[in-house]
Point group: C2
């Protein structure tokens, strides 16, 4: 069979996946990898998780092992509605859909909204897995630069206006408002209000990906975009405050849109793991999500501090980086003539250290003088060691 | 937000989902529902499953709760390769991809192969969830009728030939060769060989969905299509011989195609449940899949016998039905002027019994004088009761 002549244009357009390549890099034990965005297993409440599995299987029996409803099991949807309400977005159970992780939620949204060639607004830079999903639906990207306060509303308006002038309209604006992946920056309250009002004015839905929002180390959390406007499509995951291995995420949106997502989910995976949902619900109900979050914040805050101190100490004076108030990432800007993509193989070979090369995070594959450094997974001593190695390599080039 | 003007043409084309509607029907406790295809929870090895969760979480710790590789965890892929090899298709680990259930595997195949308007060959009738997935990728259906020996090769060749004459080619042929859903029929060995050879001749891949194959009550199993030709794309699920709640399925195919599926999976859900995969592997390794299969076969065989006997006793003489040698379903053919779709609300209201109406299983929404009856979930006494009620209703119309 000649597969190449059978492939869809979608798969042709995808080319290769940076995520797969990055995860492969992380596998060699001698390499200190700041490339992936993996949670630290030390944040997991292992004993409690084991107890919840035991409890659910004892209490629920076979009901926890059968098929579940496509929308998700009712008790978990109820809990999610309460959780969203507590976060400032008054929510009915019918406005929540359980998904198989956060990326699956974005995939459903793309299925529901995108035809090939449709426009989607993304940050410059943006979360690479989100770019992969949107690209797989053959959308055209409209990029809007970020600065230390998040996506720039003035440049967003230029793009929305230009589309309107051409009688076009973006299908959605994809945003990670808090501790953005990869830039680590957080959209200010003022900008949140401005962007939500602008999106409503132009009739363009916002997709708010709040994957890291709960991991705030310091300072005051700005409003959820969905709290500013209930029309905002909110997607989220329990991967950071429970664990990624159960694959539980969710979407909260107006009910008609949730119904469209559920229809699409029938063609994606029918239902998310039933046992995973029951265990997640039991975990949440016993206050364990709060406990794990507190533990995670303490661990990640320390790691961020270690990384920022090491960057100060070892990186060349010409480098700049963001100082995230939460989440997993800092974003490094090197002099314009640096090429992090070209440098990566050498960093791995010569310095045994890996990072996310800038172009992976740009829809146009530019941004070659940037790199994403994740402090979430690597141990503190290895963070310092790895940043030293990488800093030495960069200093050797910086003359 | 006016969602309706934002929806993709894909979601417009999907209209509504028969699966969702059917699962809803099954919820009212007074209704005896033969509509769904749910496994009997009595087939689950509950105690052993609980022990496996305990064992995996104790032995693996946090590693069972983190992200896993997109292709699936290596020990499970190795086990699947051995399993496929034992089923007559010599398989390397690299030829297996773990998926979030069987439907997710079919969705990945569609992502990799289908552009809107592409042709896909399906049975008449065909598995309704598969029709839903393929429809969601905006393919055009090419239907080939079944008879008691499965899909008719002569009519398949007519279609493939006609497409070729028009310089077209189907992207794949979707088949459930054993205990077909919904017809309950099994493709004979002779037809398997004929269809596999024909597909190779026309350069059209076969997708073999073997979801029910392991549940054979009697008689000799014909060859796996993938055993007759390793180019066949094999998809399968542990939902029937472990449980559906962990959402573990897989695809076996030539390695280049598996790599394309893995790329697509990055945009579907990144990875399947890690804990689910480790538990499934532990369950398989301890011989529990074999034990559950034996238990399931015994239970489903009895249920099939009860249903067939009740059909003999209570259904009108004008009705015909298939006698499945395994799986979950029998397929009833009523006189041409009957309309099972129109009758369904009355069956539920007046007789408190539900079934799968014929048109749900036809890409062209015809076949209104057929119904699918599932004996898998309902208890034996309720099977007899439900068939009696439904038979009485049909007899009252059959004059």
């Amino acid at each position: 069979m000649d597969w190449n002549e059978l492939y869809s244009s979608r798969i042709e357009s995808m080319g290769h996946s940076d995520v797969v390549a990055m995860l492969k890099l992380a596998e060699r034990p001698e390499v200190i990898s700041f490339a992936g965005g993996l949670p630290d297993p030390d944040t997991f409440l292992l004993k409690e998780t084991r107890e919840m599995f035991e409890k659910v299987l004892t209490r629920m029996g076979a009901a926890a092992l059968g098929y579940g409803p496509t929308h998700g099991i009712t008790p978990l949807r109820e809990w999610l509605a309460g959780h969203m309400t507590r976060m400032g977005r008054p929510t009915q159970t019918a406005e929540c859909l359980v998904t198989t992780g956060g990326i699956a939620a974005l995939d459903l949204i793309c299925r529901v909204l995108l035809d090939p060639g449709d426009r989607v607004v993304v940050g410059e830079p943006a979360y690479l897995a989100a770019l992969h999903v949107i690209r797989s639906h053959q959308a055209q990207f409209v990029g809007v630069p970020l600065d230390p306060e998040g996506m720039r509303p003035d440049l967003l308006e230029v793009q929305l206006h230009e589309l309107k002038r051409r009688s076009l309209r973006a299908k959605f604006i994809y945003l990670v408002p808090s501790f953005q992946n990869p830039a680590g920056v957080t959209l200010t309250e003022e900008r949140r209000k401005e962007i939500v009002a602008m999106a409503a004015r132009y009739g363009v839905p916002i997709v708010e990906d709040a994957a890291y929002r709960d991991l705030r180390f310091e300072g005051q959390a700005p409003s959820l975009l969905a709290a500013l406007d209930p029309q905002v499509i909110h997607i989220n995951t329990l991967s950071k405050v429970f664990n990624p291995g159960v694959r539980i995420g969710w979407a909260t949106a107006p009910q008609p849109f949730i119904e469209a997502l559920a229809l699409a989910k029938q063609g994606q995976d029918q239902c998310s793991s039933t046992i995973g949902q029951y265990v997640a619900h039991a975990f949440a109900l016993e206050g364990l999500i709060d406990r794990q979050r507190a533990k995670a914040i303490a661990i990640y805050r320390q790691k961020r501090d270690v990384m920022l101190a090491a960057l100060d100490q070892y990186f060349p004076a010409s480098a700049r980086w963001t100082r995230p108030e939460g989440g997993f990432y800092t974003w490094v800007t090197l002099p314009e003539d640096m090429d992090t993509q070209a440098l990566l193989p050498r960093a791995i070979e010569a310095a045994a250290v890996a990072y996310g090369a800038g172009p992976s995070f740009y829809h146009h594959r530019g941004g070659k003088n940037h790199m994403r450094l994740s402090y979430s997974y690597v141990s503190k001593s290895r963070i310092e060691q790895g940043i030293q190695r990488l800093g030495n390599l960069l200093c050797s080039l910086d003359r």
